[in-house]
């Protein structure tokens, strides 16, 4: 894709060791986050969205085994960084906003204390300046009266406010990349729209990159420049928002678009679904991962694993049907 990428994942493969065996959470995943863009990652639960974002921060759980690949942040592999390099990366270069704003803030510290504390790396300014900066950032993310709010505790804020605070905390370190892991899933629809609006606004004003993880296609279409479709730990298709939503080439992407309730033309009693189940990640079937559920599958799909095929300049799909 683009030459100047903040984050570029190359052939990443991660297993989790569990009592029941090795879970092949990610297999041969490659994607790029071009500088200044918003990249959306779409996938069902368990498709590896969160594992991918944790790998980008070097925060994989202890039972994760990296089988191959690289996660390049500005050209440096995150997976081989030492502890000091990782701490320098987190918060200052990459920040993350989590799903549930009710649990991501320390309940016994005022938000001002937390926002000042997280600026500990900045030794040139005093506490007063740090709390000024915190207040300015709160103002930035749309919290009125920020100076008064700094002394308040997390439980005194609503979910939407807390998510704004979490975003403000993430932005305090001036990161080049903000990873938002389903930041609106725990919020209701009105707040969701506000948070999305805020992210767009922030991108416009700050020119940072955002990796936006969601299972909501509508949000992805509205917010993102590029879309990566994950299925059972593999990138099945990626491209620009226009490519994916107007010319999907992978049957899974097509099925996802058909199933999106927001895109249905008529009111139906039964929502369309994709028949079958996500494959068991302990034992990956031979051939294409989507073959057992794919309406267009043929013999070759069940025997041979497809490789990534480019479609035009910006789109690629991992499907035998796309073979040129």
């Amino acid at each position: 894709m683009a030459a100047d990428c903040v984050l570029s994942v190359e052939g990443l493969a991660i297993d989790f060791l569990t009592p029941r065996g090795k879970v092949h959470a990610l297999r041969n995943v490659s994607l790029d986050v071009p500088r200044g863009s918003i990249v959306g990652i779409v996938g069902e639960s368990g498709s590896g969205k969160s594992t991918l974002s944790l790998a980008a921060l070097g925060l994989l759980p202890e039972n994760a085994v990296i089988r191959g690949g690289r996660v390049l942040f500005n050209g440096t592999d995150v997976l081989t960084m030492n502890k000091a390099q990782l701490r320098d990366l987190r918060g200052r270069r990459v920040s993350m906003v989590f799903q549930d704003p009710m649990t991501t803030l320390n309940p016994v510290l005022s938000i001002g204390a937390q926002m000042v504390d997280i600026q500990y790396r900045d030794r040139s300014t005093g506490a007063a300046q740090k709390s000024q900066k915190a207040a300015a950032m709160l103002q930035r993310v749309g919290i009125p009266d920020p100076e008064q709010r700094l002394g308040r505790y997390p439980h005194e804020f609503s979910g939407g406010m807390r998510q704004r605070i979490a975003i403000a905390m993430g932005l305090l370190g001036n990161p080049e990349l903000l990873i938002a892991d389903e930041p609106t899933t725990a919020l209701d629809v009105t707040l969701e729209a506000q948070i999305i609006h805020l992210l767009r606004q922030l991108r416009r004003e700050f020119k940072g990159s955002i990796l936006f993880i969601s299972h909501n296609l509508g949000l992805i279409a509205e917010l993102c420049d590029y879309v990566v479709i994950l299925y059972a730990g593999e990138v099945v298709e990626q491209g620009t928002v226009h490519d994916i939503f107007h010319r999907p080439r992978h049957p899974y992407t097509e099925a996802l678009l058909v199933c999106d309730p927001a895109r249905l033309d008529d009111v139906r009693r039964d929502l369309p679904t994709i028949p079958g189940d996500v494959p068991n990640l302990l034992q990956i079937p031979t051939g294409c991962v989507f073959a057992p559920r794919c309406p267009k599958a043929f013999d070759r799909c069940r025997q041979q694993q497809p490789t990534d095929h480019a479609v035009g300049a910006t789109q690629s799909a991992r499907c035998h049907l796309v073979t040129p």
Binding site: L59, R92, D117, A128
Partner: protein
Amino acid sequence: MSAPAFEIAVGGAEPAHGFFANRLIQRLLGDPLGLLGLSLVLLVLFCGIFADWITPYDPFKIAVPERMQPPSLVHVMGTDSVGHDIFSRVIKGSQIALVVGVLSIALSLAGGLAAGLAAGYGPRWLDNAILLIADTAYSFPAVMLALAVITILGSDLRTIVLVVVIFQTPVYARLVRTSTLAMKNSEFIFAERSLGAGSVRILVRHILPNIIGPLFVLGSMDIPSVITLEAGLSFLGLGIPPPAPSWGRILYEGYNLIFDAPWIVVAGGIPLIITTLGFTFLGESLRDMLDPKLRRMV
């Protein structure tokens, strides 16, 4: 290449930040029960610190002609079998009670906090080792442990403090460990790590404030029970040796003379009750203050 992308201009008014301890005291004064607890604790502290100046008589002075006098204006709490002024001994006894209670609990809290944090946040083997030691110490019955240590080391103030530390540290260590484990896997700790906070910062700035409140409360409520333990040991004749005026010893002497001089038992019991109530009320009030969700705004 790596220019800050999400930069922001600094500006705006000075935020309103109150001094934490100041606000805590303000809130404490607004809570009647907390205020009562604080006053009782301060009373005991005052007696302990100024004992040598405020006792009406020398607490060690034996005056046989004045023995076994019931309470009067001359001897507010009467005298005992050798003519000690009991009121003076009660005041002087607060020193022993405070050293045993406050010092030993403070030492136990510090030890328990360090061990518990290490066990909860450190590697698995360290956790197992600390847990093994704590369980071993905890499995001895308190009085038996006290008897054993006192038999080996002889009974004095330091031995009593040592016994309490041996017995209380594992209790706090286990509590801290459990809370740390629960905190360690909580989402906000993960969020802090994702923002680049290191282990020490997470322990000190984020885990500690979350567990220090309950621990503080537990400690303040344990102070009276430790004082009672010392009283119990003195009652068994194993406490601080005479003529030191510990409250337990006063109780013990009063118990032997309960039909002839009932005021002695009463005089030994009153300071225990005052101290117990004081620290318990203060502890309960502190618990409400330290938990932001229960906190009432002043």
